[in-house]
Symmetry: D2
Subunit: 342 residues, 4 copies
Amino acid sequence: MLFASDNVTPANPEIIEAVAAANDGNVMPYGADPISQGVRARMADLFDCAVDVHFAMTGTAANALGLASLVPRYGAVFCTALAHINTDECAAPEFFTGGAKLIDVPTQDGRLDPELLKAAIEKSMPGFVHRPEAWAVSLSQPSECGSVYSREQLDEIIDIAKHYGLLVHMDGARFANAIAATGTSAKDMVRGVDVLSFGGSKNGCMMAEALVFFDPDRSRHTPFLHKRAGMLCSKMRFVSAQIAAYLDHDLWLKNAAHANAMAQRLADGMCKLKGVRLAAPVETNMVFLVLPQVMADGLKAAGAEFYWIGDFPIPAHRFVTAWNTSEQMVDEFITTAARFSG
Amino acid sequence: MLFASDNVTPANPEIIEAVAAANDGNVMPYGADPISQGVRARMADLFDCAVDVHFAMTGTAANALGLASLVPRYGAVFCTALAHINTDECAAPEFFTGGAKLIDVPTQDGRLDPELLKAAIEKSMPGFVHRPEAWAVSLSQPSECGSVYSREQLDEIIDIAKHYGLLVHMDGARFANAIAATGTSAKDMVRGVDVLSFGGSKNGCMMAEALVFFDPDRSRHTPFLHKRAGMLCSKMRFVSAQIAAYLDHDLWLKNAAHANAMAQRLADGMCKLKGVRLAAPVETNMVFLVLPQVMADGLKAAGAEFYWIGDFPIPAHRFVTAWNTSEQMVDEFITTAARFSG
Amino acid sequence: MLFASDNVTPANPEIIEAVAAANDGNVMPYGADPISQGVRARMADLFDCAVDVHFAMTGTAANALGLASLVPRYGAVFCTALAHINTDECAAPEFFTGGAKLIDVPTQDGRLDPELLKAAIEKSMPGFVHRPEAWAVSLSQPSECGSVYSREQLDEIIDIAKHYGLLVHMDGARFANAIAATGTSAKDMVRGVDVLSFGGSKNGCMMAEALVFFDPDRSRHTPFLHKRAGMLCSKMRFVSAQIAAYLDHDLWLKNAAHANAMAQRLADGMCKLKGVRLAAPVETNMVFLVLPQVMADGLKAAGAEFYWIGDFPIPAHRFVTAWNTSEQMVDEFITTAARFSG
Amino acid sequence: MLFASDNVTPANPEIIEAVAAANDGNVMPYGADPISQGVRARMADLFDCAVDVHFAMTGTAANALGLASLVPRYGAVFCTALAHINTDECAAPEFFTGGAKLIDVPTQDGRLDPELLKAAIEKSMPGFVHRPEAWAVSLSQPSECGSVYSREQLDEIIDIAKHYGLLVHMDGARFANAIAATGTSAKDMVRGVDVLSFGGSKNGCMMAEALVFFDPDRSRHTPFLHKRAGMLCSKMRFVSAQIAAYLDHDLWLKNAAHANAMAQRLADGMCKLKGVRLAAPVETNMVFLVLPQVMADGLKAAGAEFYWIGDFPIPAHRFVTAWNTSEQMVDEFITTAARFSG
């Protein structure tokens, strides 16, 4: 009954098989191999446009490199106060950018609030050297609260960014979950986005992320920043092979759809119990529940793992499902919880 | 006939099998899993002392993190002009350290020259703020010329470092080749070293390096620096499993011994050809040959791959052998070369 | 009627005279001259303890160097959302520290709120590598709202810092105004503080700040960080001579007492006008007034200069008085305002 | 008999008077004052082209900001091994640029050698991510050996830079001495240069340098980098007033011509003594002498101050003259030396 995070999971067998299959003879190093080149071509197909793709082994590295590609050292990046880049990456964005500043905007549900975003941007007037200059907006799709921006909501945020001449980074650590939840095409989902952190590690890969640029001008500095960050694996085929298999037969979407369904099942079952309620709507693979203390304690005593998130708008217990969460595990969890229901 | 680098090679099947075997259920993330913990214990055994181990996916990241753990932002690191950290890591050490300076010392054979090292250190007097303060010496074992420091040579360099109060980093991207070449024990090889970049990627792993600290005081900042560099894989078991298999049954040493032997075979065969001579003694898995131009051209035309290294003391063609270099490939190369021998 | 900031003012004639007097023959460079050494001794007297003093030409440089001396690159510094280091230094602290993160705490009056501070610190658990590690608290005395921490309030904040093992930086850009306002001795004012930015430029100097360390351990790295920041003037006597004259005959305190009195005079006069009220109590040399729009417009039309501060708890017009603000200028301003009073 | 450096000198009385005169009432801060704006206009006149000017209080800050304006974080800057930026600025360029790398080229006389420069640049091929990318050449005019590039020599270096698409920084800490020595106009001296560190502090100012950009595209980022480096004095008039007076009535050139003449006088007198010879030609205000040890010791015992420069091509004693060096002091020195001449 491990619901602590999707990062405790194994990889899909298909991913491992692809890595094993990639282990075939000598090939050109540093991403010049055919597998890595193939992934670049497939990303261009997926997003239906020219793309530039760089690989990363962690989501933190992908995000930080993406931001470092967009903003100068004195730039300001606007994000929510709950953004992963703001709270869980140990100031990697500040490190990779050479000291740019994240300006965090309060949020109720993990999404950027258009009015608050505008107000924050307006404090950083162009050419006003006393504040870091506004350069980029970073949004997480889905957000750290599990919520998904609708296309209209994305437009609203991106229009604001463009109005002020800012670039847009999308943290898609769980991008597949957003696609699976909404049925929006990948192409539509990134309209107006300059660079996407396309996540694999949380959804079936071992350790593979792709940083996808939709405007080659934006990745002009990236190859050097990538190398000097120690991210340029000589045997890059073993990273790109994961992404290739992840895209094959829509594995990424199947994994995500399953995780999302398990989250819904968990929420549905739990909400029937007395004293349990949702702290936020379930839109992807995260469930935020307000539980009676005795139930939370009982579940932990029974071996369940999950986190208390105290700094979200509604403090709650967070449950994350994954590609390998089984119906049986969910049901067992609910049955256990029921034992502690008044 | 690919002798361009050991980074074009596949991984040992044993490594792939270990990765597949690690793909078993949910485990604690971020290196708290049993496989990663097991590797830490095995490193303590190997070096026969308490160690602190951090994993990396590239040698550049391992080196840069090691140096960033040792020196402050205003520190000076002394290394040879040919050191990989100086010439092939796109200033990653400068980036990870926050702007420390590499002071490069001329070298004849890839090893640090004790007198030149001393002279360089003495220009950075303690407390003299106009120069970066001397903090560390970095040496590559084996060196980028394929040469290996004897224990006496190491002592000489390390004594100088200690005399001036400096810390010692060993770039062991090909550490196994040095061990295999000399028969020195791992423990003896690192006597006096503060942190070792223990390489795996060039010698049979997919992408796995271990940064081994021999003094816990030196790694006090490392976990944070590691995380904010985007190197802390959530599913670290897939990195550490490679190192575990690499150590199993002395795979690392068998790989290295084989590569070294193939280099010797290549050198022996080539030196019998007219007009061919060694530019440097063959001590590990690198061979530097002065070839007639017609032979070099002919070999390339026949599909052989190798680099011209113009900035080494004796400019020469470099040939790197690896764990998967076959006797047949070496012999075929020599036979081909012979066709172009006057 | 310039009330925009204390940074538009000239220097005291005594400061200029001291600079001219310092222009006497060759002396040792880089702060080894007698004037600079004399200032160090006088700071030790003023604070009645051993101190280490480094000079700066701007307050931003002093603050950023102070923080860089206290915290590692992955450290977190806690301050108010309105702190000068957070809003008006173009991320200089992030730059000087090599990428540390300022965690901003909401504030009502410019002072750190003890409970909010505690809550913020507790999110950065020691050893929890996903967030920057808590290292320091920075407080402004007086604050950017003109408010002054009482000694009891300082104790409360410093006790929290010490409880969590954090260091304390005091931004004293207007330190003299706090001393003059409270009558607290300099020694008492810095009890528990590790490093003070002792400001001169806003209160009668040309460009001179002193960074005063109360624990030599904390300034171990400072000389190198100072030099490589380009702050080590060769002819440092011309900076330190300003501070020497500033301390002479209590010039610093006389200047500050005058500025404070002028602020009080301004507030008293204005508050008698219909529709005018204070947005915050007047404690030092800043006055925050809520004015009728017609009055604000009329004053600007009449040539008065002052800023609208929209992001303070109570948005208001800010008026800053200085050592050279005359009673006549204040009275003229009030008279002008009265013309626009309903 | 202080010949240690030109940084021990006082300022010209004219400079002090200008600073005192600038102390007149409230003016706009941060360089928006009339004096600062006037200097910008005069620099445009001096160089006969549109310029962008930023002020600095130290030469290190000017150089580092200039380089940071030209090169990205992963850039390589080519300079001589003896360049001040390489040996005497405590890695400030690395700090300000965010980790760029200085590639040092051996030199015989302080000037860049065209062939060695070309060879160094060619190791950093465009797009080759394993090395920092070639971005800029920095040359010191005059050099740290006192030598001056002729216009033909400048052309040769600048042509190489332009051939490879590199930008050019000129460290003019002693720019006036080069102008005075050659009679070349300021305009001609900077032909092909992108940014000049125009020094004042060593030649009569208290602490004032101007960073002059000859292409506005190159200073696009500079205002923010300047602010976040803590270099943006609020009362900038006190810096710019120094430069204004420095330019008035050719004070800068008179000072430099005098210093150069004193160096020539010193060299002429000393070379008549037995056992004394020049280690390098005297071209500006630095004299490098090979002295009998007994003479060097005797002079030091008599109170003379000068440095031993061990890492110059010809190790020698260095003597620096300045605007305030008197004929009497030079002659007294020579007379003293003569007492120790065999």
